[in-house]
């Protein structure tokens, strides 16, 4: 084996070691999938934020939307904050509809009905869950001479996506995803973070399933 290929092999092995492992699981249940995708209609992905001890991270909601839009640019995903501002105050944590039938109450108002029609909104996806740090061990001490020690922690991501069909005002699907990963931080002068992409894995898992529902190409 030449020196160059040996270097490449070592570099690849090093990079593989630097990414920590993540275990993920995705469950899907869809009742009424559109056969030709959602066509020229649009979809909005919103985070549930009515819980007192957690809230679905806006970054996660954006990640799922970007995942779908990047893989099929024919699917129009409305930005969450843009939608919340355009429909204020009807989708705030205290006023957001909890059931698809509540949409009927909102559509009874002319300005809401007109805005929804202008947005060509046909599906609404609610994401509920969060990523939490579930445990840690080890010790890391830093001084002017650098950092020494070893730290490790685990993270759990649990999210549920609920799909609402606004035309029929009905729930048409559920996607659950959970991901667990262990991150490490060894430090000999310089700390080397080996972070498990737990939230990113959950985002990819849920994004792929939603893409299969919304896109005609998948």
């Amino acid at each position: 084996m030449s020196a160059a290929s040996m270097r490449t092999l070592l570099l690849t092995a090093g990079l593989a070691l630097l990414s920590a492992c993540v275990t993920s699981n995705v469950d899907q249940m869809v009742y009424n999938e559109p056969t030709q995708g959602i066509g020229d209609a649009s979809v909005v992905i919103l985070g549930r934020r009515h819980g007192s001890d957690y809230e679905t991270e806006p970054d996660f909601v954006k990640c799922v939307g970007d995942h779908i839009a990047a893989r099929d640019n024919s699917v129009t995903v409305i930005d969450e904050l843009e939608f919340l501002n355009a429909l204020y105050p009807w989708f705030e944590p205290r006023s957001a509809p909890m059931h698809p039938k509540d949409i009927e109450r909102l559509l009874a108002q002319q300005p809401v009905r007109e805005k929804m029609a202008a947005l060509k909104l046909e599906y609404m996806i609610w994401l509920d869950g969060s990523t939490v740090r579930s445990g840690g061990a080890g010790a890391l001490a830093c001084s002017l001479g650098g950092c020494f020690g070893f730290g490790t922690w685990s993270q759990d991501a649990n999210y549920e996506a609920t799909i609402w069909d606004l035309t029929d005002q009905a729930e048409v699907g559920h996607v659950n995803t959970s991901a667990t990963g262990q991150s490490y931080m060894p430090a000999v002068i310089v700390p080397i973070p080996i972070i498990a992409p737990v939230q990113g894995t959950a985002c990819d898992g849920i994004g792929e399933q939603l893409l299969a529902f919304l896109s005609s190409k998948y």
């Binding site: 001890d53 957690y54 809230e55 991270e57 919340l84 501002n85 355009a86 429909l87 204020y88 105050p89 009807w90 705030e92 944590p93 205290r94 006023s95 109450r105 909102l106 009874a108 108002q109 002319q110 300005p111 809401v112 805005k115 969060s130």
Partner: protein, 225 residues
């Protein structure tokens, strides 16, 4: 300038060292002061059918300059000043302009001497209470703000029409690269925004307001569901 003058007068031979010491001391003293947050944010206009009424609005100085000063409860904590006055005015101006056909800002508090025949009623909002919690105090990884408002709806001459209270809440999770000040600001913006949502969706459900709307020949449900 003052540091330079003090050092040149008292420590003429060691002026450079004196100035360095004074600047470090000044920095430490500033670091010991209260943490101040002047709440800043953007508030959207409501998507509501406006009520066909002309509303007068009176913001008193306690409201427009609203701030709380919170003393630390232990040596580990610092004192906080949270100023929401400007954000309150910004949000309520935007909200009310979308909820009513016409909004008029009054120059003086409604009273017997006032006469504004075109105004149907005057709204006077008050912030009664503001509480905050940061992760260092609660061990929960969210920053939270609670607010309690009191509203007076009166005629231009100050005769009471309705009085009611309302609460609002805002929270934001801890995030990487986000300081305590940024997080408290975001939680306060969420709380002010929540106050707007609560007011907009419940205004016509306040019993005394419903009665007043009926007297005006409007269905209480007009504008809001």
């Amino acid at each position: 300038m003052a540091v330079h003058w003090f050092c040149s007068m008292t420590f003429a031979n060691h002026q450079r060292w004196c100035m360095l010491f004074a600047v470090v001391l000044l920095g430490l003293l500033i670091g010991c002061g209260p943490t101040k947050v002047v709440v800043k944010g953007n508030f959207p206009a409501p998507l509501i059918e406006p009520l066909p009424l002309t509303l007068g609005v009176w913001f008193d100085t306690d409201f427009t300059q609203h701030e709380i000063f919170d003393e630390p409860t232990s040596r580990k904590e610092s004192s906080w000043i949270v100023n929401t006055g400007a954000a309150q005015v910004q949000m309520w101006d935007t909200l009310l302009a979308g909820m009513f056909e016409k909004v008029v800002h009054l120059d003086a508090k409604p009273g017997p001497g006032q006469s504004s025949p075109e105004i149907d009623a005057v709204l006077i909002p008050h912030v009664e209470e503001l509480q905050y919690a940061i992760p260092a105090q609660t061990n929960v990884k969210v920053y939270e703000i609670w607010m309690r408002y009191r509203f007076e709806l009166v005629t231009a001459k100050g005769t009471p029409i309705a009085k009611w209270s309302m609460s609002s809440y805002g929270k934001t999770p801890t995030a990487l690269l986000q300081s305590d000040q940024e997080a408290v600001n975001l939680a306060a913006v969420m709380a002010v925004r929540d106050a707007g949502a609560n007011f907009a969706t419940h205004f016509t459900k306040v019993p005394a307001v419903q009665e007043w709307l009926r007297d005006k020949g409007l269905q209480p449900g007009t504008g809001t569901p």
